[in-house]
């Protein structure tokens, strides 16, 4: 809230996804791949199997190029992006779990050094020494998951930590173990998805055996991941689960994400069984690519679901993703945001300029102006009102209503709403009145958003807040004084280009 804002048209969330999704795929590959490579080399040594050794050796080049380079840089990238788009939030997380990260760093060093040594010493040191390095890599990589998993799961289900503020209460939180199982399965999935490509390049006579071998690993990964997922879902607090499960999930989109993820996993399992285990001669780079995509889709879907149900929090029931602390709400409503943030105060005493600064401080971490989650589209406008008024026939009215009004007016029907509006002709004659109505709606929306703050603070201390019944379950409350609320309403109303843009507005903001 008291940090400057970095403008990125793409939207902070989108940018984070661009960095984080490849990172988590590669990071899980680094864990599962390490394990698979170490097991494979161990088997190769035992059986004196040259092709198995080659599979391990070639995979280790991929591992090093992808994970110690791209994985490490994109891992740093997550911090970089988080610091740019939600500095207060990432700062709070780091202040809470710095020792966790410090411990992870130790394992990270072991992992990276072992990876480099492993790759560099093929054919140059004894088999036993090389195996030792490979297994040390596995230990380092897996232990870093063991640590980071505590921090990631803490964010969604802080559990006892909310009351005790004790490090280990938050670390071994309710979803810790299920998530560790799930991620172990995912790691195996990611590893096989990559290694199939390596196996396809093996000599013809051994290719099928190698693919079948990888196929069993893939099946194991699917089973472990599925078990972990169901366990994860089962231990989620009811209030969180109900957001995407049950007859009427509060966030229908997340319910769809869940189905998508589970169907992707099913597809990966079936493909793996058919193309790798039963009929490996059918395997081609194209089928391998489809399989890898299915595995990524499951993983991506799950991550989206996990992030989605956590919204609008970074740390559930403690800290919102725009950096607002739940405990700070009353004070900020009382004395105002400008009193706490020089960056907001730079916006002036009141009016649209202060409103703009408030928007940047509170809303811009999720809403862009016209891009991803565009605020202009989320808000009603005079053109929206006119479109509904002008809609002819129930179907057109329904369509216009659903597109522009239903998000905030679920309790009335399209035609009922049309009846409440002045006619299109009257609207044309009295643009002032329309602007007034529109600004009134925006101010009323902000009031609703500020009222959410009371619901958040009224929730019992130490328990997870149930967001489902809120006006906007995916948004933090608006905080600020009445004057700040009016200023933000002024600013948001000024975004309405309306039917007849005035010259001053044509230049954008």
């Amino acid at each position: 809230m008291d940090y400057p804002i970095w403008d990125v048209a793409l939207g902070g969330g989108m940018l984070m996804a661009l960095v984080a999704i490849p990172h988590v795929i590669v990071a899980h590959f680094a864990i599962g791949g390490g394990l698979l490579i170490a097991v494979t080399e161990t088997l190769a040594v035992r059986r004196s199997d040259f092709e198995l050794r080659e599979l391990a050796r070639r995979s280790s080049l991929v591992l090093i190029l992808v994970s110690t380079v791209f994985g490490a840089i994109s891992g740093v990238g997550i911090w970089v992006v988080a610091g740019l788009i939600s500095p207060a939030a990432i700062s709070a997380l780091i202040h809470t779990y710095v020792w966790g990260w410090a411990m992870e760093w130790v394992f990270f060093i072991l992992e990276i050094v072992a990876a480099l040594v492993y790759y560099a010493t093929w054919g140059r040191i004894s088999k036993q020494a090389h195996l030792l390095v490979g297994w040390l890599y596995v230990v380092g990589a897996y232990l870093s998951l063991v640590v980071i998993n505590g921090i990631i799961t803490f964010m969604l289900t802080p559990g006892e930590w909310l009351a005790s503020r004790a490090f280990w209460d938050g670390f071994f939180n309710p979803t810790y173990w299920p998530s560790l199982v799930l991620r172990t399965g995912i790691a195996l999935l990611m590893a096989t998805a990559f290694m199939i490509f390596v196996a396809l390049r093996a000599g013809v006579e051994r290719r099928e055996a190698l693919l079948r071998y990888l196929g069993w690993w893939l099946v194991a990964g699917c089973v472990v991941a599925y078990a972990g997922y169901r366990w994860w879902e089962a231990v989620l607090p009811g209030t969180v689960r109900n957001l995407f499960r049950g007859a009427e999930p509060a966030l229908a989109q997340l319910a769809a994400t869940r189905s998508f993820a589970l169907w992707s996993l099913t597809a990966a399992l079936l493909l793996g069984l058919v193309v790798l285990v039963l009929a490996p001669r059918l395997a081609r780079p194209a089928t391998a690519a489809v399989l890898a995509l299915a595995a990524f889709a499951f993983f991506g879907g799950y991550e989206r679901l996990r992030e989605g149900v956590r919204k609008p929090f970074l740390i559930h029931s403690h800290l919102f993703s725009n950096g607002l602390l739940l405990s700070a709400i009353p004070e900020l409503n009382e004395s105002g945001v400008a009193a706490h943030s020089g960056w907001v105060a730079r916006g002036g005493e009141d009016g649209a300029s202060l409103g703009r600064a408030l928007f940047r401080a509170q809303c811009a971490s999720c809403h862009t102006l016209d891009g991803y989650q565009s605020i202009r589209r989320a808000l009603p406008s005079r053109a929206d009102l006119a479109a509904l008024a002008a809609a002819e026939g129930p179907e057109a009215a329904e369509r216009a209503f659903r597109a522009e009004c239903a998000a905030c007016h679920a309790e009335v029907g399209a035609q009922e709403m049309q009846g409440m509006l002045p006619s299109a002709e009257e609207m044309g004659q009295d643009p002032e009145m329309m602007a007034e109505l529109n600004r009134g709606m925006i101010a009323a929306t902000l009031l609703e958003l500020r009222d959410m703050g009371e619901a958040f603070t009224a929730a019992p201390h130490g328990a997870m807040v149930d967001t489902a019944p809120l006006f906007a379950p995916y948004m933090p409350p608006f905080v600020g004084t009445d004057r700040e609320l009016e200023a933000l309403a002024d600013h948001l109303a000024s975004l309405d280009r309306g039917a007849e843009p005035t010259p001053a507005r044509q230049g954008g903001l």
């Binding site: 960095v19 740093v76 970089v80 710095v98 966790g100 130790v106 072991l110 054919g123 730079r346």
Partner: protein, 372 residues
């Protein structure tokens, strides 16, 4: 009223005494600097050596370029790995200065990721597609890699300077690129570049001297050592000059703080200056380092010490820059001693494991059917 643009301290407080985290920040940053010097200086030096050697494998400079690249493809990984820890601690101790600076230079700071990735893969391309693998060519890759790392350094220096001067933030937010007008910007960047070149050249000399003493390709290694040693000499000379320029360009209050800081600031500073001059004298003592392995080893030890001391001075300078703003900001401290202990034990165990692993690897050479 001028709004106070510095964000408030994090309400969560520090999970340990500040001094502990300052020590961790400086010591992990020192570790990072060692690999960073090899990456930045080593890549630049390799690019120059490649060019001067005509891009063909037979030349001693080309061999040096290949050697530096061989180290670097691993060294870059370690630069990033060791960089993670200071990045963690800086976000803990200086978040209210660090984040605004990165945000104000947002695109550049984000661009760092792309530059690092490109620099890294370019180095690999040189290794696999250029002179080290094929005996010639690939100069574009190593030059590109060097340029990327140079830009990374330039961004780091800019972010640092913005972070320690909150009085510049308002101007910067309004679009004035005032950082680049900071008189100390270029000398400061040069300070890092010269340190990198000097350190990489010294490590290369040391290695070549060792090889020559062991009787391996004596003529070649002697030539490499002599060539790299000249780089040690000249970069150190420039470094001493640049160091004084930088000192003179410090803002008045910072300079005063440094000079009036008593032993805590003056001892490291004096030591750094003495080490710089000492290094210069050692480097000037001979033009044939292969004949004086003791001198080369001693120079390397002195340079390591100089880097360590400069890490401390750099940290103190930041504190002095920020002194007017941090006066009444004392974070709440809620120590987690158990976790610190666990971290310390894990760190010791982790480093011991790495050491054992390396010993085992070095002690188990094998080839042919016996090898992995």
């Amino acid at each position: 009223m001028i709004p106070n643009l510095i964000p408030s301290l994090d309400a969560a407080g520090l999970p340990g005494p500040p001094a502990l985290f300052h020590v961790l920040l400086v010591s992990t940053f020192f570790l990072h600097l060692l690999f960073m010097n090899l990456t930045l200086g080593g890549t630049l030096l390799a690019a120059v050596a490649h060019r001067l050697g005509g891009g063909r494998g037979g030349d001693h400079r080309a061999v040096l370029a290949a050697r530096l690249t061989a180290i670097n493809t691993y060294g870059i990984s370690l630069t990033i790995t060791t960089g993670v820890a200071p990045l963690l601690f800086i976000q803990l101790l200086y978040q209210q200065y660090f984040y605004p600076a990165t945000i104000l230079l947002g695109w550049a700071w984000l661009g760092l990721l792309a530059l690092l990735t490109l620099g890294y893969y370019a180095a690999y391309l040189y290794k696999f597609r250029g002179l080290p693998a094929r005996g010639s060519g690939g100069g574009v890759w190593i030059a590109a890699s060097a340029l990327m790392f140079l830009l990374v350094a330039a961004i780091h220096v800019a972010v640092h300077l913005v972070s320690v001067q909150p009085e510049r933030w308002a101007g910067l937010a309004d679009g004035a690129w005032s950082v680049l007008a900071d008189p100390s910007y270029l000398p400061r960047l040069l300070h890092f570049v010269l340190a990198g070149l000097g350190f990489a050249a010294l490590v290369a000399t040391w290695w070549a001297v060792r090889r020559a003493r062991a009787g391996v390709e004596v003529e070649l290694n002697t030539a490499i050592a002599a060539w790299a040693w000249r780089w040690v000499l000249w970069t150190t000379l420039l470094q001493v000059v640049d160091g004084f320029v930088l000192l003179v360009l410090l803002p008045q209050p910072v300079m005063r703080g440094l000079m009036l800081g008593g032993a805590t600031t003056l001892v490291p500073l004096a030591l750094a200056i003495l080490l710089g001059l000492g290094l210069l004298m050692m480097a000037a003592r001979t033009a044939e380092p292969a004949g004086q392995p003791g001198l080369v080893g001693g120079t390397l030890a002195a340079m390591l010490l100089a880097i360590a001391v400069m890490s401390v001075t750099r940290h103190q300078l930041r504190a002095l820059y920020l002194a007017p703003f941090t006066a009444d900001a004392a974070p709440t401290v809620v120590p987690q001693w158990g976790n610190f202990l666990l971290f310390a034990v894990l760190l010791a165990a982790g480093l011991a494991t790495v050491a054992c692993m390396l010993r085992r690897v070095l002690g188990s050479p094998a080839s042919g059917a016996e090898a992995a």
